[in-house]
């Protein structure tokens, strides 16, 4: 596809379960970002991948959150032992250049996570 895709679009889980969210960036984009958007809130940066470099994990809210990017393309965000406060829309974005601050990020449609 031409844009960033994310799956699933919606995920409902029970408190304490683990979830995996997937992001397929635009082909050829070297940088990939994960954000969290809580209801009525702005975007909260979670993690950033740039090429083959070690990811910037400075935004991850706790050690229950982790992410990986295999082969420099697809990324998976994993939340272990989910809590109700994890309920949010998780957005993925990619950009073409190697994380240049002038580069435009292109966003996927998001995954809406609901923790019961």
């Amino acid at each position: 596809g031409a844009g960033v895709s994310q799956s699933p679009s919606n995920k409902v889980t029970e408190k304490g379960k683990d979830v995996e969210l997937r992001c397929d960036p635009i082909s050829g984009h070297t940088a990939l970002y994960w954000y969290r958007q809580s209801l009525g809130q702005g975007l909260e940066f979670l993690i950033y991948f740039q090429g083959n470099s070690a990811p910037d994990k400075s935004g991850l809210p706790s050690d229950r959150f982790s992410a990986e990017r295999t082969g420099g393309s697809v990324s998976t965000l994993t939340i272990q032992r989910t809590q109700q406060e994890d309920s949010a829309v998780y957005l993925c974005a990619s950009s073409a250049l190697a994380g240049a601050p002038t580069d435009t990020q292109y966003f996927g449609p998001g995954t809406r996570l609901t923790v019961l």
Binding site: G42, F45, P101, T104, Q105
Partner: protein, 111 residues
């Protein structure tokens, strides 16, 4: 640390009237500024960005923004609002490897 403020949670404007969505920033050095729009149940869409050069930047859907260094502002404008412009608008600034979004402003264009 860099930050972005959008002082208005909500902006209401009548269709056909000009609209302004405000953004101010705080960053050391030269900022790179962006506007994104989010329609209901959709991801963010890029509207425009300021990197350098002309302070007036033109973007998608007839939007433009003016970079004002002395006032540290980057307000989004459109001469004539459409009902379809109703959405959530985010201002963002990058500095180094960091990308910081404002809290968002909800624009409602009334017919």
């Amino acid at each position: 640390a860099q930050s972005v403020a959008q002082p208005e949670d909500q902006v209401n404007v009548a269709e056909g009237n000009p609209l302004t969505v405000k953004c101010t920033y705080s960053v050391s050095g030269n900022p790179y500024l962006f506007w994104y729009v989010q329609y209901p149940n959709r991801g963010l869409q890029f509207l425009l960005k300021y990197i350098t050069g002309d302070n007036l930047v033109k973007g998608s859907y007839g939007f433009e923004a003016e970079f004002n260094k002395s006032q540290t502002s980057f307000h989004l404008k459109k001469p004539s609002a459409l009902v379809s412009d109703s959405a959530l608008y985010f201002c963002a600034v990058t500095y180094g490897q960091n990308f910081v979004f404002g809290p968002g402003t909800r624009l409602s264009v009334l017919p």
